[in-house]
């Protein structure tokens, strides 16, 4: 392994080193503040160190990894989201008396898993990253063990995630049996000398792999765990799950799909179209009746992952590049909007209460109480709904353009239907915030954020959303 290769994966290396140091630090001095700052600085270092991996763009790094512009951007988005989660967790956790060292350790493990996933090019590294991510997430989801919902959510996630992983593994095994190659580009070696029977075997393997990924992305019909886990997990963990884990898994899907040329397979295309249509409709329809904001966001995330699938059926290899750019832009827009919403939920909730403050009646009249925070939330919701002035609109513009280039009319039609249903529940939350404020003591107290850090966070995230929405040229695709 050359120094060139080492530099190329420097963000991953720094995070791994940080995890070891974190454990030493815990042994040395137990302090929540200290480890939080340490974690945050390490993530910043990892972001800075990604500059070193720039020269290694578009090159194979050992057998396991491949770094290109797409994964470079994914790596940085993931690190950015983790940094936000670390910052937000501070206030959320300090309320209770325990020292929360392990929490940050788990967050870092999730980050590492996601980072490995985003550059992996090989079944082994995918599985490694995936397990690292999933097992740490299980710990995090059940972290607040005094809450009943939390335990339930954690168990649900444990069982379903383990099932999904084993299905994924079976799929990988079948593909390996077919091709004798564990890398994503296995297809290249085996185009000619394959019989119809072994092709079928490979197809079954691909489908199983896809099912495993769909589980993690909570695509319909594999979405049943999502609302419970979103609701049960502590707010910063839900934030991590909704951003870091989804982004990493989607990058795996993109690589698998395009590198092993699944888009040429008619059966796979049919399956992915069905999953996409089902996700858009199921996610949006089930979100309609939710009064719990975390559950609502869970369903809407199902729909958003469904929207993203719209770029997968490509007609020619020339449009792959644009499809990847669309995914990057949309994922970033989705992540920033989700970060804003969960930052607010996390800041208004406390880890020692029996549940988070996520019923939407808690938000009634928020606009008149604190207009700036409410504006941030409204903008995030409008961005998710895809209304102009926000990054989400440009993201949707990318998706639609990509889908039109590839003439996926069915998917476009369900995108139109889905997002019109989506408007209804986003608008309903916004209207709640504009309703007359009912001053009952607890409500007014809980909703006022008094940490200046979270004000800054909300403000800067909102600015990002606006800046990319108004002037999207500043988003640079590598």
């Amino acid at each position: 392994m050359s120094s060139f290769e080492l530099l190329a994966i420097s963000p991953q290396l720094i995070i791994s080193l940080a995890i070891v140091l974190q454990m030493l630090l815990i042994a040395f001095k137990r302090s929540t503040r200290l480890i939080q700052s340490f974690t945050f600085i390490c993530i910043l270092l990892a972001i800075a160190s990604s500059v070193f991996s720039l020269p290694a763009l578009n090159s194979q790094i050992t057998l396991l990894f491949y770094l290109d512009g797409f994964s470079f951007s994914i790596v940085n988005t993931i690190l950015f989201c983790s940094a936000m989660v670390v910052l937000v967790s501070g206030n959320y956790l300090t309320i209770s008396h325990e020292v929360h060292d392990e929490y940050y350790l788990l967050v870092m493990l999730v980050t590492l898993g996601a980072l490995i996933l985003s550059i992996s090019d090989h079944f082994a590294s995918v599985f490694l990253g995936l397990e690292l991510l999933s097992i740490a997430v299980i710990g995090l989801v059940g972290y607040l063990r005094d809450r009943r919902q939390t335990l339930e959510a954690s168990f649900k996630y444990l069982i379903l995630s383990a099932t999904a992983s084993s299905i994924l593994l079976l799929g990988m095994a079948m593909l390996y049996a077919y091709s004798g190659d564990m890398s994503f580009t296995y297809i290249e070696a085996n185009l000619d000398n394959s019989t119809a029977n072994s092709k079928l075997f490979a197809q079954a393997g691909s489908i199983l792999l896809l099912v495993g990924i769909a589980f993690k992305l909570s695509l319909a019909p594999f979405h049943f765990w999502t609302p419970d886990v979103y609701q049960g997990a502590p707010a910063p963990v839900t934030m991590l799950l909704a951003t870091v884990s989804k982004i990493a898994m989607f990058s795996v899907l993109i690589k698998f799909w395009f590198l092993s040329e699944q888009f040429l397979d008619q059966v796979m295309l049919t399956i992915i179209s069905l999953i996409a249509v089902a996700s858009m409709l199921v996610g949006n329809l089930l979100a309609l009746k939710q009064n719990n904001i975390k559950r609502l966001l869970a369903y809407s995330s199902i729909a958003h992952m469904g929207y993203l699938l719209i770029i997968l059926p490509v007609l020619s290899t020339s449009s792959i590049e644009f499809a990847k750019q669309s995914v990057l832009f949309y994922l970033t827009a989705y992540a920033v909007a989700t970060l804003i919403l969960f930052t607010f939920i996390a800041e208004t909730s406390k880890s020692n209460s029996s549940s988070d403050l996520d019923n939407w009646h808690n938000w009634q009249g928020l606009f008149w109480l604190s207009p700036i925070q409410a504006s941030a939330i409204i903008l995030a919701l409008l961005s998710l709904a895809g209304i102009p002035l926000s990054m989400g609109f440009i993201g949707k513009f990318y998706l639609i353009t990509s889908a039109l280039t590839n003439q996926s009319w069915l998917l476009l039609a369900s995108l139109v239907v889905g997002s019109s249903i989506g408007l209804y529940y986003y608008l309903r939350i916004i209207f709640i915030m504009f309703a007359k404020h009912i001053p009952n003591g607890a409500n007014a107290y809980d909703l006022s954020i008094n940490s200046s850090l979270s004000h800054i966070l909300l403000f800067s995230l909102t600015m990002i959303l606006l800046a990319f929405g108004i002037y999207p040229d500043i988003y640079i695709f590598l």
């Binding site: 409008l382 002035l389 139109v416 019109s420 408007l423 608008l427 209207f431 504009f434 999207p472």
Partner: protein
């Protein structure tokens, strides 16, 4: 940059009004009035210096915006845009005046929304880049929805969501059509462009053109509104605060008509011609159906709302007949309906502030206590049913006369709508101001008198001298838009 200045003056003016109101109550309305007045002055002085905007399309600004897709911040103006922007700002003043005392809570934010939606509407009328047009098209919706949802009447949330979803879904279809258009252009020329004039040069196969035209048509037909996309309108109009109704009826519906003229007829002349028969029938149905439903209402604002559907049917009928005279009629109807429906909604607001009801059943005999208001209402109702001497008459007369040559049957049916409008107009006036005295109300205040009399003055002025508007459209439109289309049509007829 003049149009950008107007938009900025409105937007920043609204924002300043919002913030200042928190410190100094009662200042927001004055600030808004000043901002709108100032932008009106800007527009007029610009038009005074640049007479060529009345003869050709003048591009005002062209700044690269999103280079990846070749999107420009491109604005321009011609006589059509000018008249609609002037109407928008004029009704903006009316909106501020009618909300003078009506709005009592969150005043600053109210005026911000009012001015922001005015800014968006001005943007819609002046954008020449299709992406920018879509951008403004959506942006004007948000503050409008807020106006309905926050300061509206009892079912405001329902009405606001319905309004928003109807317009959003239809405009998503338009977005698809816009992107397909740009993609076709990209395949032909190799570069991305959303520029109106670039895309106009495209030659598209007739089938694709038809589908694209439908995408645009549905978006604009929802806004116009035309049967069968009209169901959002009665709810939105009824539930909105007075200024919201004035803005909706006066200007927002005109964005639909503007879109039909500029984009549907401008970008897809052949497909529009092919579609004309259906569009004309939709227009006729809207005229009759709107009039029929208006007559069945007992709610003052709902009645006026349905009458809007009827009047906009004339615009649709006239536009898709591809006749110069009918086109002029449509333009006059747009202006006339903007003024008269705004006036009717303003009167509805004045009555609501006195009676706290819009129910025609409980009104009656108001004439004895408020003769001036009654007189004004009678004049506006007369305008709405097309009394000669007022501009609505000229507009509808020209529309029908022009279209008669091409679609005699449809015009005969549509003309029945005029009788319908007379019936529901008189019904409206009779129910509220005549009959047994039920209530004693205060007559118009000076501010209200100013609103009513200035609108009435404009209705009479343009009614007696319609050339004031039409003069600007003779040469330019004759040579570019309409004539080209009629020639096309003739050649098609000759061929077949």
């Amino acid at each position: 940059m003049i149009l950008t200045q107007i938009i900025l003056v409105l937007f920043i003016g609204g924002f300043v009004a919002w913030r200042v109101e928190l410190q100094r109550p009662q200042s927001a309305k004055w600030l808004s009035l000043i901002a709108i007045g100032f932008s009106l002055a800007l527009l007029i002085s610009f038009a005074n210096d640049n007479h060529d905007i009345f003869y050709q399309y003048v591009k005002i600004s062209q700044i690269p915006w999103i280079n990846k897709f070749g999107i420009n911040y491109a604005m321009g103006i011609d006589s059509l845009s000018f008249i609609l922007i002037a109407l928008t700002l004029l009704l903006g003043v009316v909106c501020v005046l009618v909300s003078w005392q009506e709005i009592t809570d969150n005043i600053g934010f109210y005026y911000f929304n009012l001015l922001a939606s005015l800014a968006g509407i001005v943007g819609v009328f002046s954008a020449t880049d299709l992406f920018l047009f879509f951008f403004f098209w959506e942006v004007m919706l948000l503050p409008m929805t807020a106006l309905i949802a926050i300061w509206g009447h009892e079912h405001r949330h329902y009405a606001a969501i319905k309004f928003f979803i109807f317009t959003q879904v239809s405009s998503l279809l338009m977005l698809l059509a816009i992107i397909v258009l740009a993609l076709i252009n990209q395949q032909h020329t190799g570069i991305w462009s959303f520029d109106y004039f670039e895309l106009q040069k495209l030659t598209i196969s007739s089938q694709t053109q038809y589908y694209l035209m439908l995408g645009f048509f549905i978006a604009f037909a929802v806004k116009l509104p035309s049967f069968p996309f009209h169901t959002w309108l009665p709810d939105a109009h009824t539930q909105a605060p007075t200024a919201g109704s004035v803005l909706l009826a006066g200007v927002l519906l005109k964005t639909g008509a503007y879109g039909l003229i500029r984009f549907v007829l401008g970008l897809f002349p052949e497909a529009s011609l092919e579609f004309a028969n259906i569009a004309v029938w939709l227009g006729v149905i809207s005229i009759l159906y709107g009039a029929k439903l208006a007559f069945a209402q007992t709610d003052f604002k709902r009645l006026v709302a349905y009458s809007s559907i009827s009047h906009m049917g004339f615009v649709m009928l006239a536009l898709f007949s591809f006749e110069q005279i009918a086109y002029h009629g449509a333009l006059l109807t747009i202006v006339a309906h903007g003024l008269s429906s705004a006036a009717l909604f303003a009167v509805a607001g004045m009555m609501y502030s006195r009676l706290h009801s819009r129910d025609l059943e409980i009104m009656g005999g108001l004439f004895s206590s408020a003769p001036v208001m009654g007189g004004m209402l009678l004049a506006f109702v007369a305008a709405a049913f097309g009394l000669p001497g007022l501009v609505n008459f000229v507009g509808e007369f020209l529309s029908l006369t022009g279209a008669f040559k091409v679609y005699p049957l449809q015009v005969v049916l549509g003309a029945l709508g005029l009788i319908g409008s007379a019936i529901y107009g008189i019904y409206l006036f009779g129910q509220s101001f005549q009959g047994k005295v039920q209530h004693q109300i205060i007559d118009l205040t000076h501010r209200e008198l100013l609103v009513c009399s200035s609108l009435l003055f404009l209705l009479v002025l343009f009614g007696l001298f319609p050339e004031l508007i039409l003069n600007h459209f003779t040469e330019y439109s004759l040579h570019t838009n309409i004539n080209l289309i009629t020639i096309d049509k003739l050649s098609i007829e000759v061929m077949s």
